[in-house]
């Protein structure tokens, strides 16, 4: 407690009494306070705090997460588009209508775009097949196969193991090495406007 009532010695008490007389006489409010103290009331800072205990029932509703669809990071997608535009002018190609050009022209451009795209893919990803067996060969699939890695098609029934023809070996990324960016701001700018001065 910060404040304390300390006893006053006789001399200051003797002279103080005169002051108190006039103060008591002059203020009704003060007189009322003095008589309250005289009756044994304690000042607020002298009183012991009382602890009030009360039980409150809290009902918290825990939401059981319903499976929500996750959104993949857009930055990565923007970065890949940037790379494809930079190396292969991919966006230029897709944004332009090719209806007016003959196959030879489109073919010549496709060669360039192919070279650029494959450079991007090979440089930043290591891609491997999921199933190493040759295409159209007979393969066995265990009963507890991973549905992400293998897609059974055709007459799928029973509990397996399954046997079938490998139609497509699948692709998987085994290593990703995308360029590091110093800031993810403005990744939506796939290519800046070029102005020659």
């Amino acid at each position: 407690m910060s404040q304390k009532i300390t006893s006053i010695s006789f001399i200051p008490r003797f002279f103080g009494a005169f002051g108190q007389f006039f103060k008591y006489m002059g203020s009704g409010d003060y007189a009322a306070r003095c008589s309250a103290v005289g009756k044994g009331e304690v000042l607020a800072f002298e009183a012991e705090p009382t602890v009030i205990t009360k039980e409150i029932e809290v009902i918290r509703e825990v939401e059981v997460a319903a499976p929500v669809l996750a959104t993949v990071n857009e930055d990565g997608a923007h970065q890949l588009l940037q790379l494809l535009q930079h190396e292969a002018r991919f966006i230029d190609f897709i944004q332009e209508s090719i209806d007016g050009y003959d196959d030879a022209e489109v073919g010549a451009a496709a060669r360039q775009i192919h070279a650029g795209c494959s450079k991007v893919i090979n440089q930043h990803f290591t891609i491997d097949v999921v199933n190493t067996a040759p295409e159209n060969s007979r393969v066995e699939v265990a009963s507890d196969y991973d549905a992400k890695q293998i897609k059974l098609e055709g007459r799928v029934e029973g509990t397996g193991p399954y046997a079938g023809t490998l139609i497509h070996p699948g692709w998987k990324v085994t290593k990703t090495q995308l360029p590091k960016v110093s800031s993810t701001d403005n990744l939506t700018i796939l290519a800046p406007a070029e102005i020659e001065v």
Binding site: Q82, E96, A109, R111, Q123, Q177, P179, K180, S183, E194
Partner: protein
């Protein structure tokens, strides 16, 4: 003891770093390549195996502050892939081929001259500074990958062209020192040879005493030739590098340019004039077309397209075709024509005044340069080792083989299987660092020429004639690094405390002169004069301008630098004259 052996290939167009761990259990050390983070677009950093040796000085507003952050801090200039791309689009801000400037005969390496076409607001830098910038980028890349193995504590070897003169070596060495490297230098063709050695289990079986091995290293911008001889050393087979070629500014880039100008000429005839940016696009397209044509002889032609810079890939794009016939005619005939032994490279008549730039070779025939080199050293090699990306094309490989066989008639020629055409130099440098530390077969190299110092001989005054200068051999051909000091038999007078000029000469052939041999002033024409150096030697207790009696010693330091020392005959004073200050 260092943890790693590091080989740095500081190339004219690309740099690469290879390394191997020093403490290895198995006998064949594994040599790995360091990926080098570099800008590939504004604010995008990609790790790539090669660092293009290009430096670009961007305009103040060209990049946001956040786009210039490298993993090790802010970049003041852009180094690598992005620099090359930007330089193709904007002029006056790009420095390339800085390495070739280091041994320019008329421009000092410390002279701020690059970029040659600099814009007014771009402050020019010296070739030495560019070398330092490139090295510093590589050092940062190392530190990032191996924070616990400071590069200063590792065994580092940097490759330099065999044709680098002592001054160019000293500058490379000093640039390395400034970025905290204590590096040895090794000649590139020799490094390629070490890479071959590293692959051999018993190299002794492949070589015989007294046979010569020719190393042909065709880089992007330079061709470097070296001759290695197998010799008998105390009953076992040893190796000695006996000759190196001069600095030939001719390489793979010339081949791409040849095709570009050929197509540009064709287009001009049909009325299409190309703009500068289209030329660089065309060069790129030609390089790809060339690679396809050379790797597949059945292909009769390949279309070359230079797309417009606008968004349309079809409108305004320039299309032409490069035929198999063109490529074979232009490249194989142009660069690898049939030659006879001893044929000299052609010297084109030069125009009286030209801009200060690199002294590009006027004769593109690599085979002719080889024949000139071999004839000069009168050697008929029996083994050939090729190096450089140019030889990835089997057609070029087989052509040079055919030409060399025809030229060296009657010699049974074997083509050695190169370790790796693109990476052999850095790999060899790493292997060399390993051999230095742990032992193994070494190729004795040492100085590639005799070096002479100019000494004024006394003469009574004759009006209009300067006192003649004789050349005294101070360091003979083949003087090995770290070898004993060579002392000149005579004493000389040395001027101290006053600025004086020293003249240096280098011999052309590989005839070994003895130390102290005097080439009289009348025969100086047979020597190549190097850049003179102008220095003031500390006078010590002597009067300024006093002549002091000294004896001279020369040695090649551990790091492969030629060091000349003058010792006072009467006191302990020493003066060192280094090949470091160069004046244009």
């Amino acid at each position: 003891m260092s943890d790693y052996f590091i080989g740095i290939d500081l190339g004219t167009t690309h740099s690469a770093v290879f390394y191997s761990e020093s403490k290895q259990e198995n006998a064949t050390p594994e040599i790995k390549q360091l990926s080098i983070p570099q800008f590939t677009a504004a604010g995008q950093i990609t790790e790539q195996p090669l660092l293009p040796s290009f430096v670009y000085f961007p305009h103040a507003t060209e990049f946001l502050e956040s786009d210039l952050q490298l993993p090790w801090g802010r970049a003041n200039s852009i180094v690598g892939q992005l620099a090359r791309e930007l330089g193709a689009k904007s002029s006056g801000r790009l420095v390339q081929s800085a390495k070739s400037w280091l041994c320019h005969s008329r421009v000092g390496a410390d002279e701020a001259i690059l970029p040659v076409d600099a814009l007014e607001e771009v402050s020019k830098v010296s070739p030495a500074q560019i070398t330092e910038t490139l090295l510093s980028h590589l050092v940062h890349a190392w530190t990032l990958a191996f924070p616990n193995a400071p590069i200063a504590e590792q065994d580092v070897v940097i490759t330099v062209p065999a044709s680098f003169d002592p001054a160019a070596r000293a500058i490379t060495e000093q640039a390395a020192e400034r970025v905290g490297l204590r590096a040895r230098l090794i000649e590139e063709p020799l490094a390629a040879f070490y890479a071959w050695l590293a692959d051999q289990e018993t190299w002794g079986d492949a070589l015989h005493v007294d046979e010569h091995i020719l190393v042909v290293d065709v880089g992007g911008g330079t061709t470097d030739l070296s001759l290695i001889q197998a010799v008998e050393q105390d009953g076992t087979l040893g190796l000695e590098r006996v000759a190196v070629g001069r600095h030939i500014l001719l390489g793979g880039d010339n081949m791409d340019m040849t095709l570009t100008y050929h197509l540009a000429g064709q287009l001009a005839q049909s009325g299409t004039t190309l703009e500068p940016w289209q030329i660089s696009g065309l060069t790129q397209a030609c390089r790809e077309a060339k690679e396809r044509l050379l790797s597949n002889a059945d292909l009769s032609d390949v279309s070359v397209v230079v797309p417009s810079r606008g968004r349309s890939l079809f409108n305004n794009s320039i299309k032409t075709t490069l035929t198999q016939n063109d490529v074979q005619q232009l490249l194989l005939q142009g660069f690898f024509p049939e030659v006879t032994f001893g044929e000299q490279a052609h010297k084109a008549p030069r125009s009286g005044i030209s801009t200060i730039n690199l002294d590009y070779e006027s004769d593109p025939a690599i085979t002719r340069h080889i024949s000139e080199f071999l004839a000069q050293h009168n050697a008929k090699p029996t083994k050939i080792l090729l190096n450089g990306g140019v030889f990835n094309a089997s057609l070029i490989r087989s052509t040079i083989e055919t030409r060399l066989r025809a030229m060296l008639e009657g010699v049974e020629l074997t083509m050695l299987a190169p370790s790796h055409l693109d990476h052999a130099v850095a790999k060899g440098a790493t292997y060399y660092a390993l051999v230095q530390a742990e032992g193994g077969v070494k190729v004795k190299s040492g100085l590639a020429a005799n070096y002479y110092i100019g000494v004024a001989s006394p003469m009574p005054a004759i009006p209009g004639m300067a006192p003649p200068v004789d050349a005294v051999c101070v360091a003979p051909f083949g003087l090995d690094e770290g070898s004993e000091e060579q002392m000149l038999p005579n004493e000389f007078s040395l001027v101290v405390g006053e600025s004086v000029t020293f003249r240096f000469f280098q011999s052309q052939g590989n005839q070994v002169d003895s130390v102290g041999k005097v080439i009289s002033s009348f025969a100086l024409g047979q020597l190549i004069e190097l850049n003179p150096i102008s220095i003031q030697l500390d006078a010590g207790h002597y009067q300024e301008g006093e002549m002091v009696r000294v004896y001279l010693t020369a040695r090649v330091t551990e790091l492969g630098l030629l060091l000349l020392q003058a010792h006072d005959t009467k006191s302990d004073l020493n003066w060192t004259i280094e090949f470091q200050v160069r004046e244009a």
